[in-house]
Every structure is written in structure tokens, then in C-alpha cells.
């Protein structure tokens, strides 16, 4: 390039045009990054004081404080700790005001942002507009349970009426539980076969653990 004279010491720009004369000491080369907080030779001017500045300062701090208590201030739900701590019941929880629940005017927002009930401070929400498959499955299960219970009741009324109400309820509960498990097994894996009839052979050889006298090879 322009500065590579043969063996001669030349710099990449002309010496006298920029102002470095011969024999002048160049400033020392810098071998590490400049310090993060260099000492300032010229101190800055003091801040503007006065009534106006103080009033605006007060306004600013009040505004910030007020914004924290408005419903626009969104805080995510506190992460659930693994164990309940003693201090949990002493953490101050803000009083829930009617100001907190806030419904914007849905006409001025796009339809997809609509939530059935905008929740309060924490992110725990009960939104029903999310059509997920799980809700449908739960509803189906509930319907099936109700149908089975009603069928049962008809059978029991037909057979014996000597049973007391509590036993009936217990039985119904047990049967409901049994049916729940039944249903889960049946519908959980989406097959036509009832899973409890199928024996995978996992229980084979389990009885041999009862006699520990003989060594197991």
C-alpha cells in the first residue's frame, strides 16, 4: 500500500500535513482497553435545583408508585416453592380492589386478544376461550360418568331397596372410582380392548420372592 517504502520507516499518512513534526514524541501506544471509570478532569455541573425541579421530581416518583398499583402492572405468578415456608404467610399481599379487575373495551382490540375474564394481579388465569383438547376430554369423561351413574341407580332401585343411603353412596363412589379407573384404562390408550383383561406377564415370578431361604440364581 502507500506506506510500504523499501526498508524505510514511513507512516501511512503524510507527516507534515497532519501536523506531526520530525522528532516529536508520539503518544504512548495503548496496550489494554481503556479503564471503565477514568478519572474526570472536568467535573459536571450541579443539577438544576429549584421549585420546578423538585415538583417534577415528586410528580415522577408519585407516578411510578401509582402505576405499580394499577391493573396494567402485570406480575407473573410467583413460582411455587417446593416446600411451604414459614415466611410465606407474612409476605404482604396487596388488597384486591375493584380497581384491580380491569376489562378493556374489546371493540377497540383485535378479537384474538379476547380473554373471557381478565385476571387480577398474578398470572393465575381462568380463561375459557382457549379451546384445548383437554377440556373436551374432561367434559367427555364427566358425561360418561354421569351416564353410568344414572344407569347404576336404575339397576339398584330395581333390585334391592334395603340398602341404606350411605352404603349406596359409598358403593356409588367406589363404583365411580372403579369406573373412573375403568374408563381411564379403557379410553386412556384409545384401544378397543379392556386393559385389565390383558395380562402382560409382569406378575410372573413375583411370588418367588416370598421364600427367601433359597438362593435365587
Amino acid at each position: 500500500m502507500a506506506g510500504r517504502g523499501r526498508g524505510r520507516r514511513m507512516m501511512s499518512f503524510s507527516v507534515d500535513a497532519v501536523g506531526i513534526n520530525r522528532g516529536d514524541t508520539l503518544p504512548p501506544t495503548i496496550q489494554q482497553p481503556t479503564p471503565a471509570y477514568p478519572a474526570m478532569e472536568n467535573k459536571p455541573l450541579p443539577l438544576a435545583a429549584g421549585e420546578e425541579a423538585e415538583y417534577m421530581l415528586a410528580l415522577k416518583q408519585e407516578f411510578r408508585g401509582a402505576m405499580r398499583s394499577l391493573p396494567c402492572f402485570i406480575q407473573p405468578a410467583a413460582p411455587h416453592r417446593d416446600v411451604e415456608r414459614y415466611s410465606d404467610k407474612y409476605h404482604s399481599s396487596e388488597p384486591t380492589d375493584s380497581l384491580i379487575t380491569w376489562t378493556p373495551d374489546w371493540r377497540s382490540l383485535p378479537r384474538e386478544l379476547r380473554v373471557a375474564r381478565l385476571p387480577r394481579r398474578d398470572g393465575v388465569s381462568v380463561s375459557r376461550s382457549v379451546p384445548s383438547g383437554q377440556i373436551r376430554q374432561v367434559k367427555e369423561k364427566e358425561e360418561i360418568l354421569l351416564k353410568l351413574e344414572s344407569l347404576e341407580q336404575k339397576e339398584q332401585q330395581g333390585s334391592s331397596e334395603e340398602e341404606e343411603g350411605e352404603e349406596k353412596k359409598k358403593q356409588e363412589e367406589e363404583e365411580a372410582e372403579g369406573e373412573e379407573e375403568y374408563d381411564e384404562e379403557e379410553f386412556g390408550e384409545e384401544t378397543d380392548y379392556i386393559m385389565s383383561y390383558f395380562d402382560n406377564g409382569e406378575e410372573f415370578g413375583g411370588d418367588s420372592d416370598e421364600n427367601m431361604d433359597e438362593a435365587v440364581y
Binding site: F63, R107, S108
Partner: protein, 546 residues
Amino acid sequence: MTLQEVRLCGLLLREHFGEVVEKVGKHLLRSGALNLRTIINETGLPLDLVKKCLCVLVQHGACVFSSGRKGPGSPTEYLTSCNRILRILRYPRYIYTAKTLYGDTGELIIEELLQRGHMTMSSTVKTVADRLTQNMEEGRSMEYSEVSSAFSNLVETHFLQRCPPQPGAGGKDKTTAAPTDNPATPAAPAKTTLQTAESFPDCYKVPHMTLSGRGKRQLSTEEGEDQRNAKKPRLDTATHGDEGIYWQVNYERFHLHFRDQAIISAVANKLDQTSSEIVRTMLRMSEVTTSPTAHCTKPLSSNEIFRSLPSSYNIARPILDQYLTLLVDDPMEFVGKAGESGGGMYVVNLHRALANLARATLESVVQERFGSRSARIFRLLLRKRHLEQKQVEDFAMIPAKEAKDMLYTLLSENLVQLQEIPKTPDYAPSRTFYLYTVNQLPTARMLLQNCHKTVANLIERRLFETKESKRLLEKSQRIEAILASLQASGAEPEQLQEVEEMITAPEKQQLDSLKLHINKLDSAENQVDETIFLLESYITGTASST
């Protein structure tokens, strides 16, 4: 959308809306227009939280939505811009200006609207009346009509405006989303043209509202409050005839007001009080006739100015003419002469005044950071445009070595640029002129970025200090609460003293110094914001006119 702007916007969102909104807002700022599903995937937040954040951002005007780029069927896209979020820094100034112009009522109206984003007139009036009533003495309350008249005044002078109806918004139909006064909303959502509030002719029309009554004072008993608040949302659903008409603060009008104030105070500092009054009169007369982006005001004749001067200033006609001549001859070029009819036609040069104010800011920055001799070199280069090394030394009357040193310092800080002018087609260094120069507009942009970085650093330092002393602050808050409850229930002074002594002396000292630091950092933010305003107005004014 520089890095520093995004960082500052994130911090402002965090302080005012919480960390979740900060995350969503920062992501939108960095990525441009996105639709809902993309935001959810990329931020990793749950669907409901993202929806809530977007509602909050749209409500406060920080985010606009439009139907997607691929046509009317594609999902809506959300777009955020830095400018609107950076306005949050200026909120105290807006509120203070409203107080000076319209008193306490105006101040509270503007504060409520800034806190909530969009509000209807009736809800604003009710909330403000309640707040004013609380601060009044017992037995007196604020009339709704007084607050409504203050609101109407604010709308007349264009400090408040209606929110534009958004095309593509969900709802029953698009026609009912707009207030009935407005002309029919466009049938196909406009993708490219974002409707500003001013593109609707009725944006400054006060709706006819049936609202009468007085402000309510809240009872001091807690139970009464709870019951009343429990019943309140059900009782307050009475409509007042202005449903669906939302109002927002018109920032541009406030900015025009600040610009006028800056010019008037500059004239007062440079010349004297009377000249500033003359300029104030001229600006007041041309408030309605000047468009916001005008280069200079409409020409005003000297006769008109004389008639409109405030009556407290009894200056004779020839003296007014002398003042005007002085203003025209001043090198800052605030006022210019546009003709001779009517005793002389005078204009206020708005853009040139802003440019000169920005130039003065740059010079003062160089002076405070590098000393008055470097400032002399800087001013010299601003005036003479291009100078060689030797000429700089001669004109600035500074010894060569020191001048060289200062020039190189300014060059390394990028305040001064080097321009090469070759004599021969190969840029041989011995045969090239090297000229130093200062470009005002890029330097102003760089300084504006520095200002944003400064404010972001100030906010971060304040958050750090608060976090360090969190335990101490909580303790002091609890003790204050205990003291307040003791005093309310009438305790003896010994008990009060006992409670006060729970804070030890060194802790009190620590608290005092913490408060001092936080106040300093806050007022520093306010002051830097004034510089930001000046530089921003200069940059937008010059960039649009060139």
C-alpha cells in the same frame, strides 16, 4: 431504533408495567411486526400473559395492530415503536405544564389519562372529581361540571384528542366500533396507511354527555369502603351518552408548547425580558395558523404585534420597531423580516431557532467535557466548516502542540471528522489535503444516542441502589405503618418514641443517604430528558425538511 433506545424502552416498560410487559415489548421492538403466535413461540411466555401484555400495550398506545401483510385473511400483526415508549420519560413535564396552564384540575385530568392510556370523558371526570374531593376540606366536594369544563378547555386547545378507531379491530361490527359522529370507517382495513388521530375531522369534538353530580369522598372506615367498592362496579354502569369515545393525550401539542417555551426563554437569556414578551406574543398569535411542521410562522405585521401586546407592557410604537430590528439582526436568527408592508412583516424562524439551540447544546457539551479551549476549536469548525490543521491553530490562537492534542481528542470521540481532498487520483498522503470538519446533524444524532444511554444507566443505577437496601426500606415502611396506626388510635408519646427507636441511628443515616441518591438520580433523568427533547425536535425538523 438503536441499541440504547431499545435498552431504555425496556427499562421504562419494566418500571411502569412490570417485567412481563418488558419482555414482550422488547421482543416486539427488536423484531418489527409480529403476529400473536410468533410472539408466544419466541418469548416462551404462556398465551394468557402475552395476550394481557398486548392489551396493556395497545391500551397505552405503545403498540398498533393491523391485519397481516399477506392479505385480509392473515393474522393481525402488532407493531411497537420506540418513540411512544420514550415519551414516558416526559410525563412529569406534561403534568407540570398542565398544572401551570389549567390548574390542579387540568393537572389531575392529564395525570389520569397518562396513567390509564385511553379513557372516556365521563370516567375521567368522575375519577378526577373524586380525587379532588378527597383533598378538599370536610363538607366540600367538587362539581362534575367544573371538571367537565376544564376537560373541554383542554380539548379546545388540542391538548387532548380522541383515539382513532382502529381498523381491523374485533367486535360486533366495524361500524359500531367507531363513534356515531365519525364518517364511515374504511371498509377494507388499510394496511399501509396508519390512521393518525388527526385524520378524523371529529377528533377534537367534545361529545354531548349527561353527567351531573359531585365528587364522592371515601369513608375512612374500612368496612364501609369494602361494601361500597363491592357495590360500586354494579351501580356505576350507568351510561352517560359517550360510550366508545376514548380520549388520549396529544403529545405533539405539548411538544409544540415546549418548543415555544424553549425559544422564548432563549430570547430572554440572550436579549432581555421585553424582547421575549414580543416573541411570546408573536408565537401566541400564530398558534392556530401555524402547522406543526412549519418552517416558520405566518408573517405578522408590526401593527398587529403592537395591538396584541399585553397591556402591562406599555412600550411606544417606535421602541417596538427598534426591538424588532434588534431581534432580526441577532445572529441567532430567531426572528426574520419577510416584507415591508404594514410597518414591516416579521416571522419567527422555528426550524432555524431549533437548529441554533441544538448547536448551542453541542457546544456546551464539548465545553463541559473537554474544556473551554476545545470548545473554541469546536465552535470555530462549526462556523468555518472545513479547516486544515495549520489554519485551526492560527484561527483559534492556541499553541500548535496543544491544538493538535485537543483536535485528536475530539477526533477520537467522533465529534470532529476528517475530510480528505486528493490532489492526484491516487490518494497519495503527501499530495492530499486533510481538512477537519464538524457535521451538525450526525453529531446531534450521536449525542442523542449518548443521552439515551445516560438515562438508561441512571435508571439501572437507581434500581440497583433500591435492590441493595431492600431490607432496610421494608423495615422503615413497616415502622411507618406502625407509627401511623398508633397515632391514629391515640398512643402516648413514649410509645411513639419507642417505636421510632427501632430504627438505629446508622440505619437512619443509611436511609437518608439512599433517599438523597435516588432523588438525585431521578432529577438527573428529568434534566437529561430536556436535552433529549431539544435534540429530537432538531433532528426531526431538519430530517423532514431536507
